[in-house]
């Protein structure tokens, strides 16, 4: 007994500030009010305070778990028993998953495995009794008197009644409103607000889903038919915890009504795609379609605009992150497909969807390569390159004038938007790299410019001219390496390595730039496969971009399959792709986990610097992914 006080003192020093006495009194008074008759005011109060109540319960739970005995808890918080007792009988609290769960955990926290005195024994008894009553008591004796002889068990009965109520309310909501905006005329839409408030505790109740769907999908014709903000918040919360099961159109409606739920959807897509190592273009496409975001964007322009804003800020924070850029391209492609499905007859005006992009570039960039004969590609790209070049030069001229900051920022903005559109329509960048891998040295200029611009949009320190020189140089070297029929000379390979190593003085080319060129050269080159493989391996090994190389090969294969290619060459090319993919798989497997982890981390840490949880979870994922692949490769083939 004498040991107890010092332990408690220790607790007092280390525990968080306990929920104070006034707060419990506040909530107790509120629970008394909530427990009384149901009136519309109570519903509103409930929807306003339910979330706060849950946080308070969480605090209480932490506090209860920190104390060593129930006796101690009851001494510190004498009103606790009364409070929890009242909570049990308030349907708004017990209907909501979160608050019900916390309430039960609080009760378990008060249960003593080995009760040491009468107080604890009584508490145990009371907890058992209250839970038993909650689960098994039947208030409506008259109903049970009929249901029992009819062989309907209580649980089935309650479920049927709930479903019937939901159906009745759904019917009500379905009735159209005829007041047509006349604010003084009463209509049935008043009940919409009340219904949405009532659904605040029922956000995650599966039987209420049809009602929630109906509320969300109701056309907003009447000014009275507003949905409660607390209702939207509750849905958004549940959605982010993936506790919601809604119809497709209801989800779109939720995104439309609640910006935060849309943000959650986009950020979680970014996270799932870009922190998952080993995601192929096919898998990315699958994840993007499954998110339902492209479809929503096609139906509602405002959603597309928000999504793009999120993409823009992500790009700005994570410069050079190839994964994000790939995602944006796949997403935009998916969106354009959905849009075409939605409006097959009409000539789609893209202006509304891309208000900030340079209008002259919009149609040329959004046209897919497959919609154009292959022979026209180079001309098209030359035109695009020229347009973009003119645009950037205009901006730089404005910069040189040293004029008002507004004009330079406008100029910067124009260049950024042009570049962003290019990222969205990066199918043309893929074509650029493909052409660069198959052409001779003549007229590479515009294509190289385009590729350099894609990887290095900003002209910091006016290095672009120098970078273009480097780009040409890199292309020359690669072209040579991939042309020789004998195994590549060692010094040439070394020069390639130098190219890939970061130079302190000069602006270096992005490794992705070089990798992209290398992959296309390796695939289309006429030289023996062994030579190409060796060069590509060097590049991949030096840059550490195994994943990216694999992705580039996959997407190249996809595009070639979809497009038209002369048959004899098609076979040769496909065989080369397959073989190179095999080589890469072996490289990946043999890679030491630590080294590849370091490489992949540098790619993922820039994703969203504020989203710390994403980083820590991605680290865990990366480790496990690599140890798995490592383990798999050790098995005998």
């Amino acid at each position: 007994m004498s040991l107890l006080p010092p332990v408690i003192q220790l607790q007092q020093m280390t525990e968080e500030p306990s929920p104070n006495v006034q707060e419990i009194q506040f909530w107790l008074d509120k629970m008394v009010a909530w427990g009384r008759a149901d009136s519309p005011n109570i519903q509103r109060d409930v929807s306003l305070h339910l979330r706060r109540l849950s946080s308070y319960l969480q605090q209480l739970l932490t506090h209860i778990n920190n104390l060593i005995s129930t006796t101690e808890t009851m001494k510190r918080m004498p009103l606790l028993g009364q409070f929890l007792g009242r909570l049990c009988w308030i349907p708004y609290v017990t209907a909501d998953d979160t608050s019900r769960g916390l309430l039960f955990q609080c009760l378990w926290g008060l249960y003593s495995e080995h009760p040491s005195n009468a107080v604890e024994r009584k508490a145990n008894q009371w907890i058992r009794k209250v839970l038993c009553q909650l689960a098994t008591d039947e208030d409506d004796a008259a109903a049970q008197a009929l249901m029992k002889p009819m062989g309907v068990p209580p649980n089935e009965y309650h479920l049927k009644v709930l479903r019937k109520m939901v159906a009745l309310l759904q019917e009500n909501i379905g009735k159209s409103c005829s007041s047509l905006g006349n604010i003084n005329q009463r209509c049935s839409c008043d009940s919409i607000l009340a219904a949405s408030e009532a659904c605040v505790p029922l956000a995650t109740c599966p039987e209420a889903a049809p009602l929630i769907d109906a509320l969300l999908q109701r056309p907003a014709t009447c000014v009275r038919a507003a949905l409660s903000e607390d209702f939207l918040d509750a849905l958004s919360c549940a959605y982010s915890r993936q506790n919601l099961s809604l119809e497709e159109q209801a989800v779109f409606s939720l995104w439309h009504h609640s910006l935060s739920s849309l943000e959650v959807a986009v950020l979680s897509l970014l996270e799932s795609v870009c922190t998952n190592t080993g995601s192929t273009p096919q898998r990315m496409l699958q994840q993007v379609s499954q998110s339902l975001l492209p479809k929503a964007c096609a139906q509602q322009c405002s959603i597309f605009l928000v999504v793009n804003d999120i993409f823009r800020s992500t790009l700005k924070q994570a410069e050079g992150n190839e994964c994000v850029k790939s995602l944006i391209q796949i997403f935009t492609n998916c969106f354009l497909t959905e849009l075409a499905l939605l409006q097959p007859q009409k000539c789609v005006s893209l202006k509304a969807f891309f208000p900030q992009s340079p209008q002259s570039l919009l149609v040329p960039l959004s046209t897919l390569p497959s919609e154009m004969p292959q022979e026209a590609w180079e001309h098209h790209l030359n035109w695009l390159s020229g347009s973009l070049q003119r645009l950037t030069e205009d901006e730089e001229e404005g910069d040189g004038d040293g004029d008002s900051s507004s004009s330079t920022s406008r100029g910067h903005h124009r260049v950024f938007e042009a570049w962003f559109l290019l990222v969205q329509c990066a199918h043309w960048v893929q074509v650029t790299v493909q052409l660069l891998g198959t052409k001779g040295p003549e007229d590479c200029g515009p294509l190289l410019w385009l590729l350099t611009f894609y990887h290095h949009p900003t002209n910091r320190g006016h290095h672009r001219a120098l970078q273009l020189v480097h780009a040409k140089d890199a292309w020359d070297r690669l072209h040579t390496l991939f042309s020789v029929s004998t195994p590549p000379p060692f010094d040439r390979l070394q020069s390639l390595v130098t190219l890939l190593s970061p130079q302190p003085q000069q602006p270096s080319l992005s490794p992705s730039f070089i990798l992209g060129l290398s992959v296309n050269f390796a695939v289309f080159s006429q030289q023996p496969l062994s030579g190409s493989t060796q060069v590509l391996q060097t590049v991949v090994h030096r840059s550490g971009l195994v994943e990216e190389a694999a992705c580039a090969l996959s997407s190249l294969e996809l595009r070639l399959n979809a497009g038209s290619c002369s048959s004899s060459d098609a076979n040769r090319v496909h065989l080369r792709i397959k073989s190179l993919q095999n080589t890469l798989t072996h490289m990946h497997a043999a890679w030491s986990p630590a080294e590849s982890q370091a490489h992949t981390l540098t790619h993922t840490h820039t994703l969203n610097s504020t989203n710390h949880t994403a980083v820590s979870s991605s680290q865990d994922q990366v480790t496990s992914e690599h140890t798995n692949t490592y383990a798999c490769s050790m098995e005998p083939c």
């Binding site: 017990t94 209907a95 019900r100 009929l146 029992k148 002889p149 068990p153 009745l168 309310l169 009532a198």
Partner: protein, 371 residues
């Protein structure tokens, strides 16, 4: 000491059609043994200290047995031969359990329909139930739909029940578009189902009528609620000929059974009754009959200046209420107005055709209806 083997799950029930007599007999024996085991399980769960040993698996197996009990009810409640055999078996089991356990309450065949509920009640009222088991039942995560699988997942079973009941309470103030209330609608629909099942293909009314009699008896103090449910049943849309037939039987029973019709007419609101009259011709006629009976039972009280009921045996109805009933009826069934007024006129004529208040209830009724 009663022990229940919870090691194995109930044997799969096979379709008993076209089996040789020997196999059928063995099959029957198995069924009866299972019925007995189920009753024993319920007894054990409510009172035994053996519960201390239970873990998640034991809990799941117990609910699997309970679910099986419910399945037996559904399968055989309309099969008189098997049902009787099972009831006899239960009597025997009850006897032995009563001898072994003090304060034991019998398990009837009807109880099998709510076996899981009874199991839960027994468990939660048993102070020996380990807290770990309770935590499983009240945990989070709704139980998966394991209707057709071996393993019954009962995690969060009680949580789900509580959520459902609470959701009903939250939504009930809003779901007022129903004339009878959502719960009465559900009960009415169940009643229609049951009546339809009892009548079978031959549309035999006898069993249905017996059932209604037993329901009325069982209602005890809640007969008015029963009337509401009957109204709800009559208001359910006639989706099939069978349902129409069942509603017919219900109306016939309503008229035949003494007191129920009158109780219905006095307990329910005028608008609800008018709605019923609109849908069903039989009821409309019966209803008008009741209203006229009420009127004819009235006497003019000079003291109160109003017509009042003479006998206190019948349900309490005021003259004003009577007028309201007629007016509501006319609103929903306009063609009825002419017929009724014609009848009332004839009755007024037979009373002497006076226009002075207080001499003929029919005359006063007519003037009240026409003001």
């Amino acid at each position: 000491m009663v022990r229940v083997q919870l090691v194995c799950s109930p044997q799969r029930l096979q379709c008993p059609a076209a089996e040789p007599p020997e196999a059928e007999k063995r099959h029957m024996e198995t069924l009866l043994k299972n019925v007995s085991s189920t009753a024993e399980l319920l007894a054990v769960s409510a009172r035994s200290g053996a519960l201390e040993q239970w873990d998640g698996h034991a809990l799941s197996r117990a609910f699997h047995w309970a679910r099986y009990g419910e399945h037996l009810f559904r399968r055989f409640h309309s099969d008189p031969a098997v049902r009787t055999a099972m009831e006899k078996q239960l009597q025997l089991t009850n006897q032995s359990l009563r001898a072994a356990l003090p304060g034991y309450t019998d398990v009837s065949f009807c109880d099998l329909s709510r076996c899981q509920h009874l199991l839960l009640v027994g468990l939660l009222n048993n102070p020996e139930l380990p807290v770990s088991i309770m935590r499983i039942l009240f945990g989070s995560g709704s139980p998966a739909d394991t209707e057709h699988s071996e393993y019954v997942d009962v995690t969060g079973l009680c949580s789900h029940i509580i959520q459902c009941k609470s959701a009903c309470k939250v939504l009930s103030p809003l779901a007022d578009s129903s004339a009878v209330g959502a719960d009465a609608e559900v009960q009415g629909a169940m009643l229609m189902e049951r009546l339809g099942a009892l009548m079978g293909r031959g549309r035999e009314a006898r069993r249905a009528e017996h059932f209604l009699d037993s329901l009325l008896q069982g209602c005890d103090g809640a007969s008015e609620h029963f009337c509401l449910v009957i109204a709800a049943a009559l208001l359910t849309a006639k989706n099939s000929a069978a349902e129409g037939a069942a509603q017919d039987v219900l109306q016939d029973w309503l008229q035949k059974t003494p007191g129920v019709l009158k109780l219905t007419c006095s307990a329910l609101s005028a608008s609800l009754l008018a709605g019923l009259a609109k849908e069903h011709r039989k009821f409309r006629e019966a209803y008008c009959g009741v209203l006229k009976t009420w009127a004819s039972d009235m006497e003019y009280s000079v003291h109160e200046g109003e017509w009042v009921q003479t006998s206190t045996k019948t349900c309490m109805v005021t003259f004003q209420k009577l007028t309201e009933h007629f007016l509501a009826l006319f609103e929903k069934c306009p063609p009825q107005r002419d017929d009724v007024e014609r009848e009332l006129n004839a009755l007024k004529l037979s009373d002497g055709d006076f226009d002075v208040r207080g001499l003929s209830v029919w005359g006063d009724l007519l003037s009240a209806l026409n003001t």
